[in-house]
């Protein structure tokens, strides 16, 4: 039985979209390729990730973590790669690219999502929304959000230019580069949809990614958590 340890975010009835707030890329790959898995929630608010039992499997106190017997793996993008490789014969598609040339471009966009989008822009941006709406119940701080939004705009401008030449980030078919960013795009639609909807190709791409049956399956898997 494969288990994925991922964060438990208590639901807030006024903001039902919150249930999808943290959807690590690894989860996407699961839904695409693995039928038999279990999601285990780690209660971050209660500091479960700081307990010795958790630190023993991820000393950086971060989620998600994949557990398969005694094998443990952390870092969502490493987990996603592992699953893609492990199940590449069984899955319907090859998410990392078929040739070395294709893979190079997939890797480029995986890194671009990771550094030019996630770490430098999306992650702190979504954290400010999360803190404002759910934790501290206050308006977002514009002085925090404005520079991050500017970076997101720049990133999406480049993606818009790219998608005017190819159907997906790395070329004509769906790859891990698209997979890794899809959950984050979902959150952007919840808080500042115009970042996506104002860009013709980004909007069309968003619609394709989120209408995949496996994306819906992922949202369903995440939705089954108890209400506070």
């Amino acid at each position: 039985m494969i288990r994925i340890l991922e964060p438990y975010i208590p639901l807030c009835p006024e903001h039902p979209e919150q249930v999808y707030l943290v959807c690590p890329p690894a989860l996407r790959t699961w839904a695409e390729q693995v039928e038999d898995f279990e999601l285990v929630k780690v209660d971050l608010a209660a500091g479960e990730q700081l307990k010795p039992e958790f630190l023993a499997i991820n000393p950086f106190a971060e989620i998600p973590v994949l557990e398969w017997g005694d094998f443990h793996l952390y870092e969502s993008r490493a987990i996603a790669r592992y699953i893609a490789e492990k199940f590449k014969e069984q899955g319907p598609e090859n998410f990392l690219g078929k040739t070395l040339e294709e893979r190079a471009v997939v890797y480029q966009w995986i890194e671009s999502e990771s550094h030019q989008f996630n770490d430098s822009a999306f992650s702190p941006w979504v954290m400010e929304y999360y803190l404002a709406y759910y934790e501290e119940k206050r308006p977002v701080r514009e002085e925090v959000i404005a520079p991050l939004r500017a970076r997101l705009e720049k990133f999406f401008d480049r993606v818009e230019a790219r998608l005017s030449k190819s159907k997906f980030l790395a070329g004509e078919y769906y790859t891990m580069a698209d997979m890794n960013i899809a959950p984050s795009l979902w959150h952007i639609m919840n808080f500042e949809p115009e970042l996506i909807t104002s860009r013709k190709h980004v909007k069309a791409w968003y619609e394709i990614l989120t209408s995949r049956p496996t994306f819906k399956k992922m949202l369903e898997a995440d939705a089954g958590w108890p209400l506070l």
Partner: protein
């Protein structure tokens, strides 16, 4: 056709991209050409460059029909291209590869975020002859120390552990080399109380491949057209 690396000297992301070539002992004198993209001259913002790298960042890399950016993607491509030649940096089994990828991501998301802005501030302040932003340095240092503590615990978790995933030098260690070299050069005091990290940093930066990379002659690089 030779491989082309676009960048400049003393940029740690450029070093990260190309280090696998030196570890694999490819004949870089014959097979690698350098194209200078000077950040000081804003070459990275010129249309001739942003047509290739739309984010205006270095490095950028070409190998026949392949043209890619992002240092970790370039490095991974190189490691895959030569996989099997002088060992396998990427790992032989699925589980080895998973562990290597975990530490590759750890460098990117745990070590790099506090370390990179601090190093950039130190170098830019020096280049512009202005005082360093001490508050930024202090904040990054505090965060970095927490991360280095985890590395210290990891590297001391098994007797005689030489590298991040065990006894063999891998792609994960390649990814850690350029920035740990900077820590050694500029923030050695952070390594003193962490003897396993100190020994690891010394071990990976002393390797002939990295030493050879440091000798790359960017003065002889082609200009950007």
């Amino acid at each position: 056709m030779v491989m082309k690396l676009y960048g400049m000297q003393n940029i740690f992301n450029v070093q990260r991209a190309i280090l696998p070539l030196f570890e694999i002992e490819v004949d870089t004198a014959k097979e690698l050409e350098l194209v200078k993209v000077s950040l000081f001259m804003n070459d990275n913002l010129k249309p001739a460059y942003t047509a290739k790298q739309p984010f205006g960042l270095i490095p950028y890399f070409e190998d026949n029909d392949i043209a890619i950016f992002e240092s970790r993607a370039i490095a991974r491509y190189i490691a895959e291209k030569y996989d099997g030649q002088s060992g396998s940096l990427l790992g032989k089994t699925l589980k080895e590869r998973a562990a290597i990828n975990q530490w590759v991501e750890s460098e990117a998301h745990n070590l790099y975020p506090p370390l990179a802005p601090m190093m950039k501030e130190i170098y830019v302040a020096r280049a512009m002859s202005r005082p360093m932003d001490e508050e930024l340095i202090a904040r990054c240092t505090a965060e970095l120390c927490k991360v280095l503590d985890v590395y210290e615990a990891h590297l001391s978790s098994k007797q005689g552990m030489q590298f991040l995933t065990g006894d063999e030098f891998t792609f994960a260690d390649v990814m850690h080399t350029p920035y740990l070299w900077q820590v050694k050069q500029l923030k050695a005091e952070l390594l003193e109380p962490r003897p396993h990290v100190a020994a690891y940093a010394a071990r990976i930066t002393a390797r002939p491949g990295f030493q050879k990379l440091l000798q790359l002659n960017w003065d002889a690089a082609q200009p950007l057209h």
